[in-house]
């Protein structure tokens, strides 16, 4: 009798599930293997070749000579990066700028997220949309907006001169200040969002217990709220810091000649000098530099995506 209730035998159903699982897993796996992981292997490979005037402009690593496979590895590009202080300065400049911008983002973003999480329920959705909305418009255009504001004849300088605070325009555009400001402006929503998601899940009873036991609100914040929102702070900081290190558009549009950032240097090596091997070596070193933050972020993200609500 029981067998009739099941339209298909159990073994067949199990096989169907397995088959489906393999397909469900296989398609994205192969796609990412081909278009995400393999490209990195190629970057590594090409960083070990030397540049030549050809199409494509690098020498092959593996070559068949007299029926033997010869492997030509050239670490010259990495030595070149070490020998020229420009590259070191660019890495250092990127890390410094990105770090500064991340700290400023956190200082502005945390209170914003805190106020959002404490706002009445029906306000939260509106506030959330308001914070997210700028990031859905064009990134390029939001960076460009600051060109008109910070320029020598820009809005801010005109305003300050009209107020009588300054006699001649301050140089704000094409400075490192403008780059940090641009990164903070462009990435602020990415800091607010994870912190808000974290704070909104915070158990309010803990805060009530603390206040019942005589904790003052500031002490409660330091002792309970802040430690419990560590995961959100970490995720937000990584979402700002890692892309900011490799940022190209912001230093290009808002930075000046003394702004050295690695994303811009890589772009110029690639597009202007057409030196693909050196650009690849720059990318590999940048990746190594960002390995720890990326792993940290990945561990957080994997936890977020796997746990059951």
């Amino acid at each position: 009798m029981r067998r009739k209730l099941l339209p298909t035998p159990l073994t067949e159903r199990v096989r169907a599930v397995l088959f489906n699982r393999r397909v469900v897993f296989g398609i994205p796996f192969l796609w990412l293997l081909l278009f995400f992981l393999l490209p990195f292997a190629l970057v590594l490979k090409i960083s070990l070749t030397s540049a030549v005037m050809a199409i494509p402009p690098y020498e092959p690593v593996f070559r068949w000579l007299d029926n033997t496979l010869s492997v030509v590895v050239n670490i010259g590009n990495y030595l070149f990066l070490l020998s020229d202080s420009l590259y070191f300065a660019a890495y250092w400049g990127s890390v410094k700028t990105a770090f500064l911008a991340t700290v400023v983002c956190l200082l502005i973003g945390y209170p914003m997220a805190y106020a959002m999480a404490r706002a009445p329920k029906h306000w939260q959705l509106v506030l959330l949309l308001m914070v997210m909305l700028p990031s859905w418009t064009s990134f390029l255009i939001r960076v460009y907006a600051w060109m008109g504001i910070l320029g020598n004849q820009g809005l801010l300088n005109s305003f300050l001169m009209w107020l009588g605070l300054i006699d001649q325009p301050l140089k704000m555009l094409n400075t490192n200040f403008a780059v940090v400001l641009g990164i903070v402006y462009a990435y602020l929503p990415f800091m607010v969002l994870p912190i808000y998601t974290n704070l909104v899940k915070l158990d309010v009873r803990l805060l009530e217990a603390a206040s019942d036991l005589g904790c003052r609100s500031l002490t409660t914040f330091w002792a309970i709220t802040l430690p419990l929102s560590k995961a959100g702070i970490l995720a937000g900081s990584m979402l700002v810091f890692i892309p900011a290190v490799g940022e190209f558009v912001i230093p290009e549009l808002l930075g000046g000649p003394d702004t050295l950032m690695i994303g811009k240097v890589l772009w110029e090596e690639f597009f202007n000098n057409r030196d693909w091997p050196v650009a690849s070596a720059l990318a590999i070193v940048m990746l190594l530099l960002l390995l720890v933050p990326i792993v940290l972020f990945h561990r957080f993200q994997a936890r977020e995506m796997e746990k059951h609500g």
Binding site: F25, F35, L42, Q153, A302
Partner: protein, 275 residues
Amino acid sequence: MVKSRSFSFSKVMLVLGLLFLYLPMFVLIVYSFNASRLVSVWAGFSTQWYGELFRDEQILSAVWMSLRIAFYSASMAVCLGTLCAFVITRFKKMRGRTLLSSMITAPLVMPEVITGLSLLLLFVQMAQTIGWPVDRGMATIWIAHTTFCSAYVAVVVSARLQEVDRSIEEAAMDLGCTPLKTFFVITLPVIAPALVSGWLLAFTLSLDDLVIASFVSGPGATTLPMVVFSSVRMGVSPKINALATLIILAVSLIAFIAWFLMRRAERRRLQTPDA
């Protein structure tokens, strides 16, 4: 009870933060109606820059190109991202699952110059080895955008999948539904809102990308951000202000509709007593 004071530091910061986010965009909108070319001079209201924008063949064809790429990329990214989200939230013991979840989350933070460079090198190598792609253009941008947009879709969809009540799916399968049918009849309608928001997110991400597209594009395909970038590099341009205004208006309109629909769904859920 934890009291929330009416004037707290965090509320002031929220208001200031939102002002900081919106003022520059507001300035762009105002100056798109400025008759003068200069930012500092207000020469009266004018819509001439909009007229010039709509006569600019290069910008119009770039808009069309970008919209097509964004449409195809978002659609493909929703398929791939949803599959990834399924593997990550459901197949706990699958071999290779950790590798997949690393590969899908990495593009979220990967600097664009690295992604762009690595994909270009792949396409060059592919052209050498298998003879495709002969010309880089729409297809290569589509592949690149699909890859990084899938990551965002996977995050959005997996958040929704975690909330799905598994017992309904199990009931359907016990009653003889195949897993495939269960997916289409039970799971898909439940996660549909996440698929829509994932698609929209992927669409805006693809429309917005400059760096990756610049690396993997060829001479034939120029997207809107590429045109905007080359014009903006020269300095402030009123035509770009007009374009910016239109983009901001379009996004605001869609966000407003989304907010309205979400609010209505929320109210309906509150009204049904057994929900």
